[in-house]
């Protein structure tokens, strides 16, 4: 457990009311997932029952209770991407990373996620790696894109 990090995150929020999801976002980006011990610490500090925190952590797609890979590959499966062949792009990424959606590679380099529309429909099909958006992605480009993020 990282008490110092947790206290630093909590210090950013003067009130807890209406900020729990914000706190979990900060934890997710700091730890790259939501470690159980730190969630318990959060519960103790905020007096919010751990069951409520767990239900939130479990409900929202952005939160993960399992450690995630260094890079997150997010394939947009919005309607525009769907009709323009996002599934083929997804299949190619699955094949290259040898993981399914929601999983991470053995070397923890990549996690694969799907998202229902990032609002970049004019770029369909779109793939987001970490913060970078790639548009009009063809399956044959996948190798090159992934290569850029391998350390």
């Amino acid at each position: 457990m990282d008490v110092a990090a947790m206290d630093a995150i909590l210090a950013k929020f003067p009130t807890i009311r209406g900020n729990l999801i914000g706190i979990l976002h900060e934890m997710q980006s700091h730890f790259n997932y939501l470690p159980e011990e730190d969630l318990r610490y959060l519960s103790k500090k905020t007096q919010i029952p751990i069951t409520q925190i767990y239900s939130i952590a479990n409900f929202y797609n952005r939160f993960s209770l399992k450690p995630k890979g260094k890079n997150t590959v997010c394939v947009c499966l919005g309607t525009a991407c769907h009709v323009k062949g996002a599934e083929r792009v997804m299949d190619e990424i699955k094949a290259q990373l040898k993981v399914d959606v929601g999983e991470s590679t053995d070397d923890m380099q990549f996690s694969l996620e799907e998202v229902r529309c990032i609002g970049a429909c004019s770029l369909a099909p779109a793939v987001v790696v970490n913060e970078e958006t790639y548009g009009q992605v063809a399956p044959k480009q996948i190798h090159g894109i992934l290569q850029k993020f391998k350390k």
């Binding site: 939130i56 929202y60 797609n61 952005r62 309607t79 009709v83 998202v115 970049a120 429909c121 790639y134």
Partner: protein, 593 residues
Amino acid sequence: MGSTTAKEIVISVCAGTGGVAAGGFNVIEAFKAELDKNGLSANYQPRVHKVGCRGFCAKDVLVDVQVDGKTETYQFVTPEKVAPIVSEHIVGGKPVKKWLVKKDYHIFHDKQQKLVLANCGQIDPESIEEYIAAGGYRAASKALGMGPDEIIEIIKASGLRGRGGGGFPTGIKWESCRRASGVVKYVLCNADEGDPGAFMDRSIIEGNPHAVIEGMIIGAHAIGSVEGFVYIRAEYPLAVERLRRALEQAREKHFLGKKIFGTEMDFDIKIVLGAGAFVCGESTALMTSIEDKAGEPRPKYVHTTDRGLWGKPSNLNNVETWANVPMIIEKGAKWYAGIGSERSKGTKIFSLVGKINNTGLVEVPMGIPLRDVIFKIGGGIPKKKQFKAVQTGGPSGGCIPASLLDMPLDYEHLSEAGSMMGSGGMIVMDEDTCMVDVSKYFLQFCVDEGCGQCTPCREGVFQMVRLLNEITEGKGTEKHIGLLEELAATIKDTSLCALGTSAPNPVISTLRYFRDEYEAHIFDKHCPAGVCKALTHFYIDADKCTGCTLCARNCPAGAITGEKKEPHVIDQDKCIVCRICYENCKFGAVQKG
């Protein structure tokens, strides 16, 4: 040192999500460097600024080069093109013609009426000064000098209706919230734009965030609120950042905070980040989510304008609705009500995506014929394919067939056609789109994104997906359509929230207009669009094949063989029905069967 005599140089570079993905920031840097290199920066103080989405995302990066008031627009700008543009156009005075926008760019804009998007693409979204210079915050200042009832009357008389879904009259909503008993009231902005295919709210916040803030200030005064919330998707990092910056700037100017605009009114706005749950776009789920809980909808026996966030009267409007408010106050209800059709006033922003030539964001007066949007503004369907349908309203909406292309686009006509306005996503589909597959897509979406609270939605939609899967796998029987219709009716009648009751809509509307496609899947075991893999095979027409080998080289399964300049053959045992050959063949030799 350049030889130009120009005095005023303004370079506006698109830096919306589309522009950034296409390299907008690199183009900005290239312009700055190139202007320096030509000695222009020192002498003329040129302004290179980023602007929000300009709408025609398919042409990004779009750049306006303004020299002494004369503006030229360049398309597909890359850092490599910047040096010639600076030396030939800005220094030499001759625009680089080959890179300027073409006729299609002008046709794209001809039938549009940009009111809400007027500032997007013109001003720097990160500068409150530019917004103020464009007339921003005048309406809020004016409204704060008016009585709340007066404002509500103006909004009512304008005919403004909610832009996020049902199209409820905004003024009436404000009035209910104002009249609700209680001291603490909230104004909320729904920026959880979850409908796949819609990105107008993202673009408004990225391109003109202050308009939303200004609208909320006016609403807060009318309703009597001191605290506002914007609930925004975490999937929109750029919009979140720009909104956050805009809020800080508004606080510095005392447009937010204590005693705003020098009056006695206090009002501030807080950002609440979503966390990837589509259902949170539903009004009560959004409020539950702000309350630090899993975003599950609540029954609406009592309106949220009476009991909403933390049990207090709450007024929720979406981004586009809020962004309409300042200009109504500024220019008057009569002016606004003069735009649009009989019961749908003003303009509506649509995102035009899918199988269409000119993808992007368009703002048109309500009531414009659908045909004009698809075939004039949108430039029609690529590769000379046939238009099949346009899907509107997101997962709650429906598909509109070619026979209704002359329909006016407004709330009434869209719902008569079995679809809805929704937030304005328009996904265009051509002859290669399978309507059964599209229905399956939307229902699967609802299964994935449903909150799981009520049985009709959780179990019913799941069963509908199962039936649709069987149909697309060739296991459909004559009973399938009847079962789908029965389930759809039950789910519509008995689900808890609007997402549940509308979840079957894609199936209902495609059964209404494209029943023959369902029947082809079930009785002929054939997918007419060639999408459903179990019901499709591809073959090469030997008469049309030129033996160019393109298909064989691109086939991921190694299923295509043939000698150069001789007709090729697809090995059906190896073919994975991926469509790559079909889409790439330049001679139309690959046929679907």
